[in-house]
Amino acid sequence: MTQLTGTVNKVMDENEIRRALTRIAHEIIERNKGAEDLVIIGIQSRGVPMAQRLARIISEIEGLEIPVGSLNVALYRDDYATRSARTISPSKIPFDVTNKKVILVDEVLFTGRTTRAALDAIMDLGRPAVIQLAVLVDRGHRELPIRADYVGKNLPTALKESVDVHWVETKGEDAVMITK
């Protein structure tokens, strides 16, 4: 989308994103002592491409297939009164999360409210052994006691700035943009 106002800066390019994802993949494997029972769930919509890539990288390293799901948290949000209702697409979680190690993936961690909604949504699907959070960018300004287990880049921002992650799958390039 073209920005009409404000200056846009690229804070991560294709290579930096690739390296960050590779590092996160290794951290996930290290922390969980392999990829046994690992499942990856991306928060719709922009956490999904990242979830798929992490799964691919981990599969390549560990040589086993990692199940990937996509989660819609619209029905668990706490701000429905102030946001308009739009079309929602269903969650696609083609596996049982019970007793699995769930890696929850989102592109930007900001207030933490989306993560809170996602945690509730996953709990309604079953009882995972553990849930860990992986994000590409942590931009600060948390409103809830939530932190990420895996962070691609810590990016100090002002509240009025916006952080956009572009993925090749949807925007034609991999980049993290910040608009002042």
Partner: protein
């Protein structure tokens, strides 16, 4: 896109885009019905009132279930046992309940237009759950969702609605909804049960069922409303059944993958034979499940449920 209206009164005034939005939302929400925990918190703290001046099992239960799955609270009022029997007017009943904080009224009434009146009286949302001989929009939408799931499109589909068209609000909602979405709607029934000025509806009318059913993709069988049949619309139930009942032999004239639908409650052996009602082409229980999904979608869209995932 979002729904830009306060009330759901009929499909006649709805745009194809709105219908598409509701059906897509329903399809997404249907997913919840198959989960072990059938509950999402989105409508927590909202109050839904079902106000029924006519009897109903499935519509009322379906609305209440839809509301409860989305964590709303439900209250149901029917004429028996309420102050309506002490003579309280429709308007006063509405105002009283609105003062208690109802966010949505789901109204069924014997008088056509009653929900429209209610929508002007109260600031809360109103959903028409069937008004007289006018419309039953949620039934129309659930029929459409069932067709869409099985056929993938409405474009060029031939849909036959057979039976008591005149008294049927289900028929009217189906006619408006389906024709807007590009389906060809055929009606068939005894002349006495076809409404006046039927030519003003976007339909083709038949009085010979064998002709009407040939090559159709969907047959929607209407209930013979025995409670409204005291005026001799046809000579006998037996004759009706012979001329307009859906049975296996008749069904062979339709397309090979025909869907048989019925809004319920069924009079088995009158408008539909039991072997068809329980047969391979029937999607009657799917319709009931889709009804819950459609009603969830409407409550979600009306009460301004959350949007897609944003950056926050």
């Amino acid at each position: 896109m979002q729904l830009q209206r306060k009330d759901i009164l009929g499909l006649q005034e709805m745009s194809p885009d709105e219908i598409r939005l509701i059906l897509n939302t329903a399809e997404s929400l249907k997913d919840i019905l198959g989960r072990p925990v059938k509950k999402v918190p989105i409508l927590r703290g909202k109050s839904i009132c079902t106000l029924f001046y006519e009897n109903s099992t499935r519509t009322r239960t379906s609305f209440e279930l839809a509301a409860k799955i989305m964590s709303a609270d439900t209250t149901s009022i029917s004429t028996a046992g309420s102050s309506i029997q002490k003579g309280e007017s429709f308007k006063d009943t509405l105002l009283t309940l609105e003062a208690m904080g109802m966010d949505v009224f789901v109204i069924r009434h014997g008088a056509s237009g009653a929900p429209h009146f209610a929508a002007r009286v109260v600031g809360s949302h109103v959903i028409n759950a069937g008004d007289g001989m006018h419309e039953h929009p949620t039934q129309g939408l659930l029929d459409m969702l069932t067709i869409l799931e099985n056929k993938g499109t409405f474009d060029g589909l031939k849909v036959l609605i057979v039976g008591d068209i005149m008294h049927s609000r289900v028929a009217r909602s189906n006619i408006w909804g389906l024709s807007k979405m590009g389906a060809e709607v055929r009606l068939c029934g005894p002349r006495t049960l076809l409404p006046n000025e039927i030519e003003k509806l976007p339909v083709t009318v038949y009085t010979d069922l064998d002709e009407a059913i040939s090559d159709v993709d969907v047959v929607n069988v209407l209930r013979i409303q025995l409670e409204r049949m005291n005026r001799g619309f046809f000579p006998s139930i037996r004759e009706y059944s012979r001329l307009f009942g859906i049975n296996k032999a008749r069904l062979r004239r339709a397309k090979r993958d025909v869907l048989v639908m019925h809004p319920g409650p069924m009079n088995r052996g009158i408008e539909i034979t039991p072997d068809v009602a329980d047969g391979e082409f029937a999607v009657i229980t799917d319709q009931v499940t889709n009804g819950v999904a459609v009603r969830m979608a409407l409550l979600y869209l009306l009460l301004g449920g959350g949007g897609n995932v944003g950056a926050a």
